[in-house]
């Protein structure tokens, strides 16, 4: 009798573990994860005329504008034999994935407070579903990029220096780094904004600003040049160089267009940073998820 009473299956208490990621539980809710991804994908462009075409329009138009402004007007050199349009499209597609992950997860608690206040399920399911549905979006945009790549390489003669390198095998790793960075920062911000809303104002334009510091519309080599010429302070060059997103985007362009350089140590550095950011975000997220409904 005594022994049977001690045989409890679940306990609800105020004790907090530092990192409490219950994989069994997440696995049990895997159907929810998939249904949420499905929801995000099918409801995004409901009641629009162009529908899924919006997936293509946004990166294409941005690339056109970037090419006009940064390459045609500001004269940034994207390298010999590399069409600037393709250069920009590569940068924007990968940057979009990171920023969509960050933006999508950074208001997890605020956006879902109605549902979080009513039912329990592992809260991490929500940001995870954002990461996955954005992956689908990235996949579509990647196909767009590939189509333009094929067009430029085989049907024009401006892309004589462009080729996909064998380093394409690390593409999944690069996507993982972007996902971890977006998810980590997103969870961090969403947790911290439950009590103090200040950060949410920062995110909106912070992401925009960060894009300029992540070598999206210029090659990183240009920064080195300017630092060497003394036109750019050293610390700015340093910040851009060690911004993990700079490394990721440079790598992405190296893989797809063979511009820029490949450095294993920088890849390891970016991967380590992304893991750390993710773990730190998870830690804060876990601490918040039990109490946030009282403070939001």
């Amino acid at each position: 009798m005594k022994a049977a009473e001690e045989n409890w299956l679940y306990t609800i208490s105020s004790n907090k573990k530092l990192i409490d990621l219950n994989f069994n539980e997440i696995w049990r809710y895997r159907d929810l994860l998939l249904l949420l991804v499905k929801r995000d994908v099918i409801t995004l462009y409901k009641q629009t005329i162009l529908g899924p075409l919006w997936y293509f329009i946004q990166p294409l138009f941005t690339s056109v504008i970037f090419t006009l402004v940064f390459n045609n007007i500001a004269d940034i050199d994207t390298g010999n034999g590399v069409p600037s349009f393709l250069f920009n499209l590569a940068g924007i597609s990968s940057w979009n994935y990171f920023s969509a992950c960050l933006n999508g997860t950074s208001d997890t608690f605020k956006k879902n407070q109605g549902i979080f206040g009513k039912v329990y399920f592992p809260r991490i399911i929500m940001p995870m579903s954002t990461i996955l549905s954005n992956l689908i979006k990235f996949g579509i945009q990647f196909l767009v990029f590939i189509s333009f790549y094929i067009y430029f390489v085989y049907f024009t003669d401006g892309a004589y220096n462009t080729s996909i390198t064998t380093a394409i095998i690390i593409l999944p790793l690069i996507i993982l780094i972007m996902a971890l960075l977006g998810l980590g920062f997103g969870m961090l911000i969403s947790s911290m904004t439950t009590k103090y809303r200040d950060l949410s104002f920062l995110v909106a334009f912070g992401v925009q600003l960060l894009m300029y510091g992540s070598a999206v519309m210029y090659p990183f080599s240009l920064i080195q040049e300017k630092v060497n010429e003394g036109k750019l302070p050293d610390w700015v060059g340093f910040l851009i160089e060690y911004n993990p997103m700079t490394i990721v985007i440079e790598l992405f362009r190296y893989i797809m267009l063979s511009v820029g350089g490949f450095s294993l140590s920088k890849l390891i550095y970016a991967f380590t940073i992304s893991i750390l950011v993710f773990l730190f975000g998870l830690l804060i997220f876990n601490r918040t998820e039990k109490q946030f409904i009282d403070t939001i």
Partner: protein
């Protein structure tokens, strides 16, 4: 042998009152500073019992304080108490939406909660897609839902609209669909908060029937919170009474409800209200008294006798079309009647209105009076839960009548005409 499926030990929950602002961060920092030195949270000591009507300097209150109880397998436990007693907080802790400040709850089964129907519905998706999504949110797997989807759709009664986006549904249909999903959940412990207060009469009946099946037929454990005593009585065999965040009693539902209702009835014949609290209203009540026709205060009104309610109220500025309403309900909040004065234009000042009746046609027992003051359709004041009256059967006892508790709320007799026809 008792088969305890859920056990709550010393559950407490503290809330901070007021706004979250710059003052909060100093508390947070202080708390953190105590924590890293291994000391106790300084703000845990200062909480007060949760009494909403008294003002206090303390910014912290205990929504729940040292709650202990056990639930046996197959039990349908009602949780009752006044507003602010901590019922919903307890359910929130049980359903893991928020965690307790101290104490723990141990269970031997999965808990699923049904706190408010329709959460998580996406208006752009069809009924069928929403059934899957909502089911998954409530903890079902896709396979489980697929095996029950036909039953769910049938129970909801929305067959025709099932492939239409939910945004085209009427609110009643949304609720039906949501309840249907939840009704087919199969956790060991189900937590329900006031969901039956929705839908039309037919659906409410269906929902209550389903709840009874779940608990009686399928032997699942259910925790149920509602203000509707009639439903609690119908569904729950045991109940827990909470008051101001503290555990009062647990026992058979009838006993607990009886105790609760008795406790909330103050057998007064005169009720006065604090003017200060209401001074910004257009009009407010000062005093309500229950009397006989001569103006003597009476505690109990005998069945069939004349009686009156006198309301003294103050009008703070000139007002048009002022109406005073008097409503009566039984203690289960079932409305019995409403009566009101003709609209009048009133100057600023203090007034008195008397509602009288020659023949009190209610059966013996206790009733609740509701006083409302309104301008046209706009409610200025609404007092319920505060005024009670008692009807006694003293006279009938003398006359050896057959009237008793089971003969209904209304006791006035119809005319009878008896004759021999054959």
């Amino acid at each position: 042998m008792k088969d305890v499926i859920l056990k709550a030990e010393n559950i407490s929950k503290q809330y901070r009152l007021g706004l979250v602002g710059t003052g909060t961060i100093t508390h947070d920092l202080n708390r953190w500073w105590h924590k890293i030195r291994g000391k106790e949270d300084p703000y845990l000591k200062i909480g007060e019992a949760n009494d909403r009507s008294t003002k206090s300097d303390s910014a912290y209150v205990w929504a729940l304080q040292d709650i202990n109880f056990e639930v046996e397998k197959g039990e349908v436990l009602g949780i009752i108490g006044k507003n602010g007693a901590g019922k919903s907080t307890l359910l929130k802790i049980l359903s893991k939406v928020t965690s307790p400040t101290t104490g723990e709850i141990k269970t031997k089964g999965r808990i699923a909660s049904l706190l408010e129907v329709g959460t998580g519905f996406h208006s752009e998706m069809t009924g069928r897609e929403n059934i899957y999504l909502n089911g998954a949110i409530l903890g079902m797997t896709k396979k489980e839902i697929s095996s029950k989807i036909d039953e769910i759709i049938e129970f909801s009664g929305c067959q025709r609209y099932i492939d239409t986006p939910v945004k085209r549904y009427s609110s009643g249909m949304t609720v039906r669909l949501a309840f249907a999903v939840a009704a087919f959940l199969e956790p060991e412990i189900l937590v329900i908060d006031e969901v039956l207060a929705v839908g039309d009469a037919e659906f409410q009946k269906k929902a209550i029937g389903k709840m009874q099946d779940i608990s009686k037929g399928e032997g699942r454990t259910v925790l149920f919170v509602s203000h509707n005593m009639a439903v609690i009585q119908k569904l729950c065999n045991k109940s827990v009474l909470l008051d101001k965040g503290k555990f009062v009693m647990k026992g058979k539902t009838e006993d607990v409800i009886e105790y609760y209702l008795q406790q909330s009835v103050l057998n007064n014949s005169e009720y006065t209200f604090d003017n200060q609290l209401n001074s910004d209203k257009l009009a407010y009540t000062n005093k309500i008294s229950i009397q006989d026709l001569e103006g003597n205060l009476i505690n109990e009104i005998p069945i069939g006798k004349p009686w009156a309610v006198k309301v003294t109220f103050t009008v703070t500025e000139k007002v048009k079309n002022l109406v005073i309403g008097l409503g009566m309900t039984d203690l289960y909040d079932v409305a019995i009647r409403t009566t009101w004065s003709l609209p009048k234009d009133l100057e600023k000042g203090k007034y008195e209105i008397t509602f009288t009746e020659e023949y009190l046609s209610f059966n013996q027992g206790q009733y609740k009076l509701i006083i409302g003051i309104s301008r046209g359709a706009q409610v200025i004041e609404y007092l319920d839960n505060e005024i009670f009256m008692t009807v006694s059967d003293a006279i009938y006892q003398q006359e050896k009548s057959i009237v008793n508790n089971k003969s209904g709320i209304i006791s006035n007799q119809m005319k009878t005409h008896l004759k021999k026809i054959n």
